[in-house]
Amino acid sequence: MTAEITAKSLKKRKFKENLVAYSFILPNFLGFAVFTLGPIIFAVYLAFTTWNGSGPITFVGFKNFKNLITDELFLTALKNTLVYCVAVVPLTVVCSLFLAVMLNQKIFARNFFRTVNFFPYVASLVAVAVVWNMIFNPAKGPVNQLLMLFGVPDDKLPRWAADKNWAMFTVILFSVWKNTGYYMIIYLAGLQGISAQLYEAATLDGASKHQQFKYITVPQLRPTTFFVIVMLTIQCFKVYDQIYMITQAGPGTATLVLVYHIYNTAFIDWDLGYASAIAMVLFLLVLAVTLVQFRGERKYANA
């Protein structure tokens, strides 16, 4: 008798708990579903069609994906995007964590330094990209002037954004410079969540600053680092604005990335179906990488 009642009331309580949880999610999810999720699902459907935005939508099955395999521009864009990702993610994580740790201590003019590092992220992209191109000007920019001072001969000077071998490097540097401030903020917030008592206890035990960093800071920052790496990876795969501003995917196709190719296909060729297909591949790639990272986090959390 009691077992039945307990089972029923357990089920009822579970139902109520689910309802409460959903009520928390509803405001955000409803807006998200209508304005974002809907169009995304439609875009996924488009990947299997041909459509120019105005005419009829024709279903073509996997034809778009078959064309992808032989599309030279797609393969170049894929390679460039991967290179960009592999370079930017670790560099940005290291720089932003480093800066955050330094700016979390009591030092002179701390707010000034925090603001200064945040500035590249905040300033308008148009202005900042122009500035960067000026500084890295192939002939007379300050960077090359400096290199000349160090004795690099005139014809060996890298021509940065105008050189197919250095263009990607220039964009990578720009992205790291621009985004470090952003991720520094996230790390700063994460650092606030670490109890000061942990550090006090460690100092009493005689641990050095280096040891404290390795055994307290890094592990405690796990959820934050996870967030940073996932967001960075996604942002790197989706990069477009920086490329547009600095090199316009040039010279040639040296800095052509996936989203740039998608944009060209969608708004120059007006081949929206094919553009969606490229996006599907991009999406699956990112999903795979994110899942791997999720697995990694869960394994650690359970350890």
Binding site: G53, A162, P251
Partner: protein, 418 residues
């Protein structure tokens, strides 16, 4: 599920609106740089004065990315835009291909519009016998030169009848100095059309038909000038987004190929005291051996009517006004070059304040033949993109000239075969 279905229905059918009510009609006119361009207001006022029951509402979509914006706004059969300004052929081709423009053949016949007044412009816009836009502005390329720089060097001004070889030689004579005080003989803006379109002026080739080996001699001339420091380095110009106007204002260049639109900008800036250059002139574009002087590159900005517009009659009337002699006169009075060119219009233009008063400059306005920057092709936008990539590689020396041309040939052949 229901969401996706209803969304699908919206996409498939476009908007269904109630029929327009009788009474004052408001037309939306898609354009760019509304506040910065002097002729939009006078044109609107002149038309509204003659047609009191039609109001014109400008829609400024911005100059950069104008075509992308316009095409996006028109997707899915949108009826809110009535009259569209079209920047260039690739934009025109994109809109025609998507069936978004009204076929003007019947209207032209009914209103007896004389297409000859556009000096061949209308013919170059005709696609399979159908005309979808009327020439509104027609700018052509000329050579601007800095009289003060020439006087200082003691050299004779360029003439209205030079070959490319003579142009090159003159530029080499005019280059002097170094560092901040350097004067370059020539200036080539970073657009691919500056170099590539020089090659089409003998009428034997177009930019939309590979192979492109005919462009070689012209690229060689420019690359050599770049190598020898006769003109500025392309990579430099590209990465700093340097505008051609700045270098001319600074007395840093002796000569420059540019479109006729720059005449009114230049006069204005000099009048406002924002430039160092004070005395300048224009001459016709150099020509190849055997080609008549006065043959030059042209760009046409057209006016068209959206196929989805609910107010086609009013829209067509407005489009016709803008491209008529009346509209052309308003344009000319503001120093801009309309699609119609005759002695009357030319007179107004050369009488503008600030227009160089020497005979050669006035003579430079008389063109003999205009070749469009890019001929009509329904793949024009993609071909333009492929040619841009190759031009960039060639001029930044990231590949040799032969490699660049081979790449152009390959890419465009691929595009045309799809």
């Amino acid at each position: 599920m229901a969401l996706v279905l209803s969304a699908g229905m919206v996409f498939a059918n476009g908007q269904k609106e109630a029929p327009a009510a009788k009474g004052p009609v408001t037309l939306k006119w898609a354009l760019w740089d509304y506040a910065q361009t002097v002729y939009y207001k006078p044109l609107i006022e002149a038309f509204e004065a003659e047609n009191p029951n039609i109001k014109i509402e400008p829609l400024d979509l911005g100059s950069t990315d104008y075509q992308t914006m316009l095409s996006t706004q028109l997707t899915g059969g949108d009826s809110s835009i009535d009259v569209v300004t079209i920047k260039d052929i690739p934009g025109y081709a994109t809109l025609v291909k998507a069936g978004q423009l009204v076929n003007l053949n019947d209207y032209v016949k009914a209103k007896k519009i004389n297409l000859a007044q556009y000096n061949g412009g209308a013919e170059q816009m005709t696609v399979n016998g159908n005309l979808y836009e009327l020439p509104f502005r027609s700018d052509f390329r000329i050579v601007y030169y800095n009289k003060d720089v020439f006087d200082k060097a003691g050299e004779k001004y360029p003439t209205n009848d030079m070959t490319w070889a003579q142009y090159d030689a003159l530029a080499r004579k005019m280059t002097s100095g170094s560092g901040a005080a350097k004067v370059y003989g020539n200036h080539y803006h970073t657009w691919r059309s500056i170099v590539q379109c020089e090659a089409i002026l003998d009428g034997k080739n177009t930019v939309v038909n590979p192979p492109y080996d005919f462009m070689k001699p012209y690229y060689e001339r420019v690359l050599n000038e770049q190598q020898d420091g006769i003109c500025m380095d392309y990579a430099q110009l590209k990465t700093t987004s340097t505008h051609y106007s700045g270098v001319f204002y600074n007395n840093s260049v002796a000569m420059m190929e540019m479109g006729s639109w720059f005449i009114s900008t230049l006069s204005n800036q000099i009048a406002q005291g924002k430039t160092e250059v004070k005395n300048w002139g224009i001459v016709k574009l150099p020509h190849a051996d055997g080609v008549k002087a006065g043959t030059t590159v042209g760009t046409i900005t057209g006016i068209a009517v959206s196929n989805a517009s609910k107010k086609k009659d009013a829209a067509l009337a407005f489009a016709a006004f803008l491209t008529s002699e009346k509209g052309a006169t308003v344009l000319a009075k503001t120093g801009n070059y309309p699609g119609i060119m005759n002695d009357n219009i030319a007179g107004i233009l050369s009488g503008m304040k600030g227009f160089p008063q020497d005979a050669a400059s006035k003579e430079a306005l008389k063109t003999t033949k205009l070749y469009l920057e890019i001929a009509y092709s329904d793949k024009a936008l993609q071909i333009d993109a492929a040619l841009n990539r190759a031009h960039d590689s060639i001029m930044t020396k990231n590949c040799t000239l032969d490699e660049g041309i081979a790449q152009m040939n390959k890419d465009v052949k691929d595009i045309l075969s799809k």
